[in-house]
Symmetry: C2
Amino acid sequence: MNFTCEKTSLQEAISTAQKAVTGKSTMNILEGILLIAKDNELTIIGSDIDLSIETKAKVNVIEAGSVVLDSKLFGEIIRKMPNSEVIVKTLENNSVEIICEKSNAILKYMNPDEFPNIPNIDETILFGISQRLLKNMIRSTIFATAQDEIRPILTGVKFEVSNKKLNLVALDGLRLALRNEEVDNNISINAVIPGKTLSEVSKILEDTDENVNITFTQNHILFNLGETKIISRLLEGEFINYNSIIPDEYNLKVVVKRNELFDCIERASLMAKEGNTNLVKLSIKDDLLIITSDSQLGKAREELNVIMQGEPLKIAFNAKFLIDVLKIMDEEEIVLELTSSVSPCVVKNKDKNNCTYLVLPVRFVGN
Amino acid sequence: MNFTCEKTSLQEAISTAQKAVTGKSTMNILEGILLIAKDNELTIIGSDIDLSIETKAKVNVIEAGSVVLDSKLFGEIIRKMPNSEVIVKTLENNSVEIICEKSNAILKYMNPDEFPNIPNIDETILFGISQRLLKNMIRSTIFATAQDEIRPILTGVKFEVSNKKLNLVALDGLRLALRNEEVDNNISINAVIPGKTLSEVSKILEDTDENVNITFTQNHILFNLGETKIISRLLEGEFINYNSIIPDEYNLKVVVKRNELFDCIERASLMAKEGNTNLVKLSIKDDLLIITSDSQLGKAREELNVIMQGEPLKIAFNAKFLIDVLKIMDEEEIVLELTSSVSPCVVKNKDKNNCTYLVLPVRFVGN
């Protein structure tokens, strides 16, 4: 193998492919990235078997070939090279030489035959969506995925297309996040994508109206961004029937300014951090929302003007779950729909009907 | 106690005094900051006994008094309050109430009588220096202080004024940093300031030509910045006679561009990190500086044009020690003075004669 290229484009490609390398594998080969130089194009692939990222860089191929290089070390070497032309070529003794101006590095390569095969996916059934929109939908739901592996299916985000509607749903037993958009597509999709995959995908997606094309197979998903392809295993198993969890009636509706509610709950939670309960109490009455917290550290009381329809109510939450939701919503005014102090609270945008959050309350004794 | 003030100025004062609170103490009272409201002025003091920081904020005192509040919690509460007027007043039951618009927090206070006394320092013998210059001198030396407590005196920086010259010196047995400036002052000072103190002082010093006034007593140092005073214990014991360590002769003088040398050593050190040796080898001959490193990870070779006077030389260093020095120097061209492969290397600015760095080489076998 022997190719030359601009340092910056090589650095960028390594940084993309690297996102699939976890560095936690016991298999040495998975700490490497696969480089394939062919037809004046360099393909770089990183993989942790579950997730693979393949990207391309324009290079000048002098001699075709392929090697696996330690992802971290090769990335660091290229990053620290001068902004100039880089030569990468194999030597004898399973070594690769990297030359840039008067800098020279030689490192061992691993056998490309040992690198895991990337699933071959037939890209005939495609679902296109703007990169910006998908990025936003991931951000709006991924925080609600389960962080432990007790029920592995809940570490993923359900990706569902039906009736010209795309739903992304995550839930962890204490809260649920649903983000939906209308789509101009009649296909039907039903898959659960690992949270880790979506987290890396969202780092690669750009704030552009350009589409990312998505293909599903029985067990895999492929995100095609042109130069870069991300292939991930899907999670197996049945996702919870989330529609049955979301209440469609309520006794009290509260309209409130999102950032004001966020600030008040953040302040009240300062006094609630003792013993990890993080309990904040909400009392809604006479168009006033009073938030209180109380621990050995001290007490907090916050007052907020709201518009309410329905019966007064007292209810308590783990502050973190409300903060997580309020932080990622983007409308100025939001709506809380409440039924009783032991029923879930539904949070929605006031105008756009594109998300539904559900947070379970915490039962408490006393006022 | 009862006072009102602007949130931002209170927040700023807390943040300054807090820098003395380590949060590592077993004494509860040292996790607090002392607030003294008197004569329309609020004095806030943080202390870990060795180091105390006292600062003032303009407030409207309605009722004089003093309390000790948990530094972290009180700081967080004020930081998250709206940008508006804050009321802080004591209630019954050893509590303080903090009110800002519709936000209200109540927390317990600790007994101000239990707060450690700040040494009373007679500010008659003063040494003034511009804040910007002192900040720069601290940055230029503090990295070379010892990080372990084997010889406690080496965890400090020697502060020495004699013959109208101020020297700051730090050394840890493997390298030495000396930064000097001429001063218009005939006094003689000889003290060793704890590294931790200087690290906090340098965060508080601003990039301004305004002076900080420094007073020394037998055991303490006081930095007076006007609103803020920093008082620290000095380190006891005899500092090493550093002048005897710095060689005044050399066999080889090398003039080199600082950022080029820095980049080359950074790149070469990528291959040197295995087994923590971090060994880079320098070979200087025919106005060429060749830097190499070699480990199981791979090999690096860097070439640099230099101007040399004297005999060719091969010498090896722990890359980190060279990087630490090159990172904080600020002249474009620097000078290396070398004697042999087992003698210390002296690094200086090419033009300004205001610093001397000394790095011990590493002995190595082979080429």
